[in-house]
Subunit: 473 residues, 2 copies
């Protein structure tokens, strides 16, 4: 494709995306297709000759779009907001169009230096001290793996340069909470610790990790000859947005020389609001932390910001230095290949940089405050409605709710909960995520899509009442 | 940013990228900036209020572009071709603009199913049997880590569900070659094996792994009570594009129950040419393999296709299944979160799908053949020029060359080699990668950027002669 063809089709594509975003509210939020339906409409074999973009746009309209669940819809209340603000989308378009790679500083200096600047802007926005250095990773899952490997290597005195985990005398132990994200346990397993060496610490009534039980578990393990290695705290758990007591965890980590990693993937965005920073009080005592601007803040996926205190340690664990990647300026620059798992690196800073510049900090703050207000409004509605319960504190924008009609309990209540949520999802009116809490099903309402205003939350509440109450009346 | 603002600025951006691509040949290939120069021109703090895209475009022109090394230039002969064909760029634009995520099949069915279709198209293009299932990962580095973790779990009987590598009785050993990519050793270290349990098998005169020495090393380790676990073969090593004897490695792997992973990150693209498939003869005996369409083939970075034989094993190692990710159709669909490390997933299939459709297989093949011919032409020039040597076989598109003037050897020759390569790179006339081979510096010429025609290769050869020979005359 020539630049001139790109110009023509690119304009058409921008219009197509603009139209999609302008009418995204009109689509059923959850895709209505059945498993295999998309695949069945697509050719089984690749074309030998060229096809036109006319054919591609036709397939997009007729096959792809009906197969999407629309994350950018104002009626999307599932999982978490994955806001791809259009200014950030443009930043990503720049990155892909330029097609440069950051294997090393020299391989595109602006890529590395802008990443340093953009992650430092975000650091300031989050109210973090300048003791932190940032880098962009793809996701929280990958970043948790990096954090736990760094913890492993710190505790084991760089076992990777020797016998690895296979040469460790006292098995290393990782502590998470019962409400930690599934990716944290996955990371511990992939890093080789083994499930027997991962402790899920129970939580309190607000679903935050109990520091007394953490301290107790650490003491017990140490007494039994194991080597407590790392604790992962969460600022804003997936299920209920619970806040682990970071300060208390930091104290225990300091006392027992544990690595403290803080997963603030979702709720970290809220730290651009000074009034929310109490939720991760003590954060300066952590060793690493992540915030996903690709969630609530509005950066196009994928953009996880990983911050560390001891960057030298990170680089020592992750560095490679073959001759073909060396350059004469290496001693004077940051080579970001040594800050993560992949060697190749997109120019991801552009999407964060464009987002922050086009919005400015104040507008980003205003939007997040809007969402928190909307969540408080819905919380008040649910709490005052007969038969409805809010099951966990609502510090930010996620509500855990259940409709509990008289006489329904246990598995019957589970069936009722799953049924009304499924009816709403299948209707396309809104997208909600059912999940388990304390062994019973409930429904998460995650507010914070870019386009979600009070009217959409009010409409959701109407639909919830209709679908849940209608069936038992 | 509203859809209408996006439409206006998006058109401008498409034009900006079209102009950039149209004049990319005119830029000095390697950025001429000094460390810290970009950073110094950017504000240290984020803006509180909104800025216009006018300001962003101004900074792009004045600060960012001069800080780029231009990977899409026809005079880019560094590292490897990282071709972001414009049709694939458009595919990525669709993905970012739609802003949907593939946490699970249900969270956007078309994302998962199109990925299945596109990776299967590529499988057919590569001449692989239908025993292989594909998934898109970000990079070869991450994929090697996934492969070695899968190998670890197979050999250890799912140690991750028990004591992890910390509970393994006989330490597991990984075999690579002395010419394997640095990311392979990095992956083994991150997976916890430890450097003491990674063997770098020597290579033959053509830089391919010596299977006799592999077999010997495996026998010795087993005799000493260690547990041979995995071997990583390379189809097209980074330094010289050497081809490990995959069939012989597969035989040894089968005899000793090793996992065979094949890293065909760069050279895998060539397997769309039937005449090249002899280079990975025996590939059907491997357990996993990767090909990076984001290199020579032309997919916008990042797009690594990871193929496995035993998909059930992969999923068993990588799956997580918290309640909030479950859906009623799970038993009937592929949930790609269980096929890699990250939970979140972009709609990356679009950039591969658009590339293959807009080009068609025949045009992709023709371009790769053009590059191979250009490499053969340059090889003939270098071989017939006095004082010049081609240091390794040229199976595809990478040449390893050295200018060896009379009387220069050892470190003096190294200085000469590095000096003329650095002069070319700093001049901006072309971008080459100096690297070490057999302990001495040489220069890699990697041919295959989209825009590179014979005239650019001929011009490069002129520059090389001028810069290398000029200094000793």
């Amino acid at each position: 494709m020539t630049p001139e063809e790109f110009r023509t089709i690119g304009h058409r594509l921008v219009d197509w995306i603009a139209d999609y975003r302008a009418r995204v509210a009109q689509y059923p939020v959850m895709s209505q297709v059945e498993p295999g339906q998309i695949k069945a409409k697509l050719p089984k074999a690749p074309p030998d000759g060229p096809e036109s973009f006319d054919a591609i746009f036709k397939d997009l309209d007729e096959i792809v779009v009906p197969g999407l669940s629309h994350w950018q819809s104002p009626r999307f209340f599932g999982y978490f907001p994955s806001n791809g603000m259009l200014s950030s989308v443009l930043g990503d378009y720049l990155s892909t169009g330029l097609g440069v790679l950051g294997l090393s500083w020299q391989s595109s200096p602006a890529l590395s230096e802008l990443e340093e600047v953009a992650t430092d802007w975000l650091r300031q926005m989050l109210g973090l001290s300048d003791a932190w250095s940032g880098v962009i990773q793809d996701t929280a899952s990958t970043s948790s793996l990096v954090a736990l490997i760094c913890a492993r290597e710190k505790a084991s005195g760089y076992s990777l340069a020797k016998g690895g985990l296979q040469g460790v005398k006292r098995p290393l132990v990782v502590y998470v909470s019962q409400m930690s994200h599934s990716s944290v346990e996955k990371a511990a397993l992939l890093a080789g610790f083994g499930r027997e060496h991962v402790r899920a610490i129970p939580t309190d009534a607000a679903y935050g990790m109990r520091p007394d039980l953490l301290a107790e578990a650490v003491r017990q393990d140490a007494a039994q000859g194991l080597h407590p290695c790392a604790v992962v705290g969460t600022t804003g758990t997936t299920t209920t947005t619970a806040m682990d007591p970071i300060g208390a965890l930091a104290d225990i980590a300091a006392a027992h020389k544990l690595w403290l990693h803080v997963d603030a993937a979702m709720a970290g965005s809220a730290m651009i609001l000074p009034e929310c920073r109490r939720f991760w009080e003590g954060i300066e005592g952590a060793d690493s932390l992540i915030v996903n601007p690709h969630k609530w803040l509005g950066a196009a996926f994928d953009c996880t910001c990983y911050y560390v205190k001891d960057a030298e340690h990170l680089v020592r664990v992750l560095s490679t230095n073959p001759s073909y990647l060396q350059s004469s300026v290496d001693s004077r620059v940051k080579n970001l290949r040594d800050w993560g798992i992949p060697l190749g690196r997109r120019f991801r800073a552009l999407k964060l940089w464009c987002l922050i510049r086009e919005q400015g900090v104040a507008k980003l703050q205003a939007r997040l405050r809007r969402d928190i207000e909307n969540a408080r409004w819905l919380e008040a509605q649910v709490k005052s409605a007969a038969g409805w319960k809010v099951l966990a504190p609502v510090p930010l924008q996620t509500l855990c709710v259940r409709h509990e009609p008289d006489g329904l309990a246990g598995e019957a209540l589970d069936r009722h909960t799953q049924a009304w949520a499924e009816r709403i999802n299948r209707s396309g009116a809104a997208y909600l995520t059912p999940a388990q809490l304390d062994g019973r099903w409930m429904v998460r309402v995650s507010i914070g899509s870019l386009l979600t205003e009070r009217e959409h939350v009010a409409a959701l509440w109407d639909v919830m009442r209709r679908e849940a109450e209608g069936t038992v009346r």
